[in-house]
Every structure is written in C-alpha cells, then in structure tokens.
C-alpha cells in the first residue's frame, strides 16, 4: 500500500498499478467516462472524493466523520481450498477508505464481494495481506478479541436479514446490546429508540415471520447500529426486497450513517443502490477497480 494514512482532506492523488494486463478504468475515465461505456458513472458529485483506480486504491472523504473507522487493505489475497482444487478469489486487493466514507462494491456472482466484506468484518481470516479497521489489525485477531472487534466496531446487514427467528424484533436488537454487556433496562431503552428510528416502534414485538422483507431489513439495520459501530458492512441489503422497500431501507441506512458518521460499505448487484454511494468499485477477477 502506497497511500498514506495522513492524506489531507481534499487532497487529490492518482496512482495506477496494474500488472495483470486487464484494462481497468483510470482516474480520468471515472470523471470523463468514455462514451458508450455505460458501466462507469461518476456518482460522487456532492463531495470531493479522490479515487485511485486499479489495484492500489485510496478513497478519501472530504470531511472525516468522527464516528467512522478508517479501513485499510493491503495486498489482500484469499483462496478457498488447497492444491489443485484451490480457488483464488481475491488476488491482491488494496484499498483505503477514510472514516465516514460510503462506498459500494459491485461485481459478478463469485467475484469475491462477500468474501472481501467477510474479511473486512472479521468473519474470516484472509489467506494473505493486511486489513486494518480503526485501530484493529483484523487479520491478527482471534477468539474473544475478534468477537469484541465484531461486537464493538462492526455492524452487519445481510441479504437474508439474519434475524433470529425465535426472537421478536425488539429482542433481536436487544441481543446485540446484550452481547456488549448492557443492563436490561438500558438495552431495552436503546433497542426501542433504534427501532423507532427505523419506523418500527409499532412492530417491535412481532416475530420476524410476521414482518415484511423491508421491515425485517430495517430491524437488521437497527441491530447493526445497536453498539454504535464505526463500520457498517451491508451485503446485498436490498437483494430480497422490492424497489419500494429497497429505497426505504437505504434511506434509513443512509440517514443513520449521516447521524452517526460511521463508514459504510455496501455490496450490491443493484446499480441503483451502487449509485447512492459516494464511490463505487467493481471486483473483477479478484481485483478491485473503481467504476464511479
């Protein structure tokens, strides 16, 4: 990783390192997409953000949000299996996301989006490389420290919602608070606030099966925000939702992000969702490329 963590706000730097021979968008392509390319759309007109395309990417946000975590990925490689059956999914990803940034990851099925998200969130260790989230060297964490990292630093939002079917909406949110050791009354109060934030105060005592897909995902967002995470990782958060519900879910996610200043990384197939992010990257052949 050649990018510095001390990049000043509004700084613009562009580097490109691509030894694979695969055509990748260049910085100028992002801001001036070639006609007919269709896939590269600049979407971050609101804030001056500096992308560094190719395999060595740096993303900075104009104003570092206090509540967000910086994410640094260096030389990340990941493979499943070994020997002849080994499948390399990530082939050397570099990425820096400044605190409070909101980025989208796209790519074909099997491109490694979810794997990258899992590694960032400490759900699985990388085969090689370094991942730093806030003050945590994620790849070096194990056992209780890794659990504490996931509990304190990260909020996950899954495509399948990931709610425990036996618990009500309120209890699902409380469960996350319970894991961080909060007292019963405090966590009940906070869980109610969080559910009210996503417009579900009237549905908090319902089991997940009694909720619509959009409502379930809003519960999942409330749960993800429960422990004031510095990083939200959303894996296809609208994948199982109709466009109306998807829009509502993203609005809640973005509103909460603005309020807390946390860093958000969203994986999505949906271009409309990707377009909502400040930056959009595409994973292709195990490499990361900036698309917008």
């Amino acid at each position: 990783m050649r990018g510095s963590l001390g990049i000043p706000p509004l700084a613009l730097r562009v580097t490109r390192r691509d030894q694979t021979g695969i055509t990748r968008p260049r910085f100028q392509d992002v801001f001036n997409p070639p006609s007919g390319s269709g896939t590269i759309v600049p979407v971050f007109a609101r804030e001056p953000v500096v992308p560094i395309a190719g395999n060595d990417l740096q993303v900075t946000h104009a104003q570092e949000a206090v509540g967000g975590a910086r994410v640094i990925v260096r030389g990340l490689r990941h493979r499943y299996g070994s020997g002849d059956l080994a499948l390399t999914v990530l082939r050397g990803v570099n990425l820096e996301v400044l605190p409070g940034a909101y980025i989208a990851l796209t790519g074909a099925s099997g491109a490694g989006k979810t794997t990258l998200l899992s590694i960032l969130g400490g759900l699985e260790p990388p085969s090689e490389g370094e991942v730093v989230v806030g003050d945590f060297a994620v790849a070096k964490l194990h056992g209780d420290r890794l659990a504490a990292f996931r509990r304190e630093m990260v909020g996950f939002v899954f495509q399948h919602f990931g709610l425990l079917a036996a618990l009500t909406a309120l209890e699902n949110v409380e469960l996350a608070l319970s894991l961080s050791g909060r007292g019963a009354r405090a966590r009940r109060r906070k869980a109610i606030e969080l559910l009210a934030d996503v417009g579900l105060e009237a549905r908090m005592h319902h089991l997940p099966k009694a909720l619509s897909g959009g409502e379930r995902q809003r519960v999942a967002i409330a749960r993800a925000m429960a422990n004031d995470p510095k990083l939200i990782l959303a894996d296809e958060p609208t994948g199982n939702l109709d466009p109306g519900a998807a829009g509502l879910v993203m609005e809640h996610l973005e509103r909460l992000r603005k309020r807390t200043g946390c860093t958000v990384i969203v994986v999505s197939h949906n271009p409309a969702i990707a377009e909502r992010a400040e930056l959009s990257y595409r994973l292709e052949d195990g490499m990361l490329a900036l698309t917008a």
Partner: protein, 428 residues
C-alpha cells in the same frame, strides 16, 4: 451474553420448535421413565423378596435359642443344637454389648389352651415378646393389628389358627374381634386334677405370619411371664425343661447384613444356638443382583437411545441454524456463548423429559405394583411398597436425564461453537 439472556434465548428457541422439542423430550421421557420404572420395581421386588426370606422382619435378624450349638452351627442357617442352655438377662446384656448388634428382643413361650367362641379347644403355644419393638421382629401382619405392647386383653393369632378353622388367608379379617378364653397350665401335686389353668380373656386384634418362635398366639411378654410364673409355681414337669430358663429365645438384630455372620459367631462363642437365613439371603442376593443388572441394562440402553436422540436432534439443529450461529458470531457472540446456548437447550430438554419420564415411570410402577399387590394379597402374602423410594428415584431420574442430555449435547454444542462466523454469509 449473560446467563439470563442465554436462558431466554433457549426457551424462545425451544418454544419455537415445540413439536421437535416435544418429540425429543418424549424420547428422553420414555428412556428415563423405563429406567425409573425398572429401578422402582426391581428395588421393591428385591426388598420384598429379602423381606420374605426374613419373614417380614429385618433381614439382619438372628434367632437365638436357649440351647447349646452343635460344632457345625455356623455352617447352617437353621438351629443345630444339642442341649439346653438357659438364657437370662446376663446373657442378653453380653450380647447387647457387641458392636455389631443393633437390638436384642427377648422371647418367652408358654403352653396354652385356647377356647374359641365356636369349635374345639386348641392346645398350642403362646409367644410373648416386646411388641414395642415390632420393627425388629419377623412378623408380617396379614389382617388387623398387633396387640398393644402392654395390653393384657389383646392377642394376635398366627395363620395356623386359620388352618384350625379351615379358613383361607384372605378370610383372616373374619376372626378379628372375636374373643378367646386362654388358660396356662400348672401341674398339680395330686388328686384327680393333674393340671390347673390360669385363665384370661383376650380379643383377637390381628392375624399374622410370624417366625419369632413356634406358637399360635402372640401376646405381650408380660402375659407369658405371668403364665410361666404360674407354671413354675406348680410341680416340675419333665416335659417342659425350659420353664426354668428366663427366656426361651432372643431375636438379635445385627447392624448390617455383612455383620450377621460375625454376630452369630459371637453368640456361638457364648454357647447359644442361632438361626439366620444368611446363606440363603446371600445366594438370593446374588441372583437378584443379576436381575438388577439386566433390568438396569435395559433401562440404560433406553436412556442411551434417548441421549442419541438428543444428540441427533441437536446436530440437526446445529445444521439448520448454521446461519443463525454465524449471525450470532457476526454480531459479537463468543464461542462459549454459542456453546452455552446449545448446552442449555439440551439441559432444558433433558430436565423436561426427565421430569415427565420419572413421573410416568413412577406411575407405571405404581400400576404394576397394584396388580402385583392384588396377586400377593390373594395369596395371603404382604404387598409390595413402591411409594417409599419414589422421591429419590424421581430426583435420580431427572438428574440422570439432565446429565445424559448434557453429555449427549457436548459434541453438537462444540461443533456449533466452532462454526466459523462466515456461516452468516455462507451461500451468498
């Protein structure tokens, strides 16, 4: 995650999968119920068989006769005597001092002529003993009750009395409350009257099967003492040489079955013949032990099957909940939180199944006991008491089921705890 949160999660999970939990619990219940029923029945049967061998008294009871033992006395369960050896309070005191002796109950017999309300007079023996120590005597009450320990107007009759009137054991209640005129004989000095009687009236209050001493009428020892004083005050009778002995016998109770032989040896050294079913009980106990092992084995196999059912159910649950476990870890649960979740779930199933099974097992045992008791009473025997060990067996059944459930859950719970957090996003 705190214990209380885990318990909440467990009950919600169990409640949500009520049918599966019910089926698993039923498996545990059947296993523990079968084991409890078998243990209850076999324990009661063991107790009853041993009790029958000891004729209703303590299994450690030893009968002592006012007689000199033969050299091979200790090799035999029955009396092996060769002459008279008077039994008095001094001998009783020596025997009482043995550290393996729990109690000593004196026995005194006396000749008696009984005149029932109807039928011919009966010549028999009156057995007097301390009825305040009924628990230490080989007596089984078939009907009614025993005379009060100091009553001079109550008598219990042995089943031989029923034989005299050709009555079946089941008809024993019919003789209760009838009055007998009883006379103890005394040899007179001369004249046409060779014997004179000491008469008294007594009401039959109970019918018993007894092995205290040969005899048909059981009375408080004071009654026989008066009868013997009466007899001794007459002329000596060569047919009854034991009249001069203070007691005709003793019932000595050893502290444990293992010490019966030691006590017999000590009494043998004092010069008294003894009788105790020690060899018979030892042999029967060996057979009963084999039966217990077989019954216990059947119950244990049932419990193992139940535990395999728990393990299978939990493994299926782990497989089904891979994603939930992954999500739980993704939001910060530690391996031990997941381990605790699954172990507690198994514990809940084990305890619920254990309670249901133990209660059902006791119920089954009680039902069987009713049938067995009906049969035994029809045969003129004492019933089987299945109530005295119920509480302990229920506790054991519940605790055993819970423990077995935990053991069965260990492997699935460990598998669950070690599932990677990536399961949260597996398949996506």
């Amino acid at each position: 995650m705190s214990w209380s949160d885990t318990v909440t999660l467990v009950f919600r999970t169990v409640g949500r999968r009520a049918v599966r939990t019910l089926l698993t619990g039923l498996g545990v219940a059947l296993g523990s119920g079968l084991l409890v029923a078998l243990v209850t029945i076999s324990s009661a049967a063991d107790t009853n068989v041993i009790s029958r061998l000891s004729h209703g008294g303590p299994v450690t009871a030893i009968k002592v006769a006012a007689a000199v033992p033969q050299p091979d006395q200790l090799d035999s369960d029955s009396f092996q005597s060769r002459g008279i050896h008077y039994l008095d309070d001094q001998s009783v005191a020596v025997i009482r001092r043995s550290r393996y002796v729990q109690s000593v109950v004196p026995v005194m017999t006396s000749e008696v002529l009984a005149v029932p309300p109807k039928g011919d007079p009966i010549f028999g023996l009156m057995v007097g003993t301390d009825l305040g120590q009924l628990g230490n005597l080989p007596i089984t009450i078939l009907a009614g009750r025993m005379p009060s320990p100091d009553s001079m107007t109550e008598v219990a009759v042995a089943s031989s009395y029923l034989d005299h009137f050709h009555l079946a054991p089941a008809q024993a209640p019919s003789v209760l409350s009838t009055q007998l005129a009883l006379a103890s004989p005394r040899r007179e000095s001369s004249g046409q009257v060779r014997f004179r009687g000491r008469w008294f009236r007594a009401t039959i209050v109970g019918v018993v099967a007894q092995q205290v001493a040969d005899g048909d009428f059981i009375v408080p020892i004071e009654q026989t003492r008066l009868a013997r004083e009466w007899a001794v005050s007459g002329l000596p009778d060569p047919d009854f040489p034991l009249l001069a002995s203070q007691y005709t016998g003793l019932i000595v109770v050893a502290t444990t079955l293992d010490h019966v032989h030691d006590v017999r040896a000590e009494i043998n050294d004092l010069g008294y013949a003894t009788s105790a079913p020690e060899h018979l009980i030892a042999t029967v106990q060996r057979y009963l032990h084999v039966v217990d092992i077989v019954l216990g084995g059947i119950g244990t196999v049932a419990l193992v099957i139940a535990s395999l059912s728990i393990a299978g159910t939990l493994l299926a649950a782990v497989h089904e909940r891979r994603r939930e476990i992954g999500v739980l870890k993704a939001i910060g649960a530690r391996d031990r939180d997941v381990l605790r979740w699954f172990l507690l779930e198994a514990l809940v199933v084990g305890v619920i199944g254990g309670i249901a099974g133990s209660i059902a097992g006791i119920g089954v045992a009680e039902l069987l006991g009713l049938g067995v008791n009906n049969y035994l009473v029809r045969q003129g025997l004492g019933g089987v008491d299945l109530t005295s060990i119920s509480g302990l067996v229920v506790l054991g059944g519940v605790a055993g089921s819970a423990l077995l459930a935990l053991i069965a859950a260990a492997a699935p719970a460990l598998i669950a705890a070690r599932l990677p957090a990536r399961e949260a996003v597996a398949g996506e």
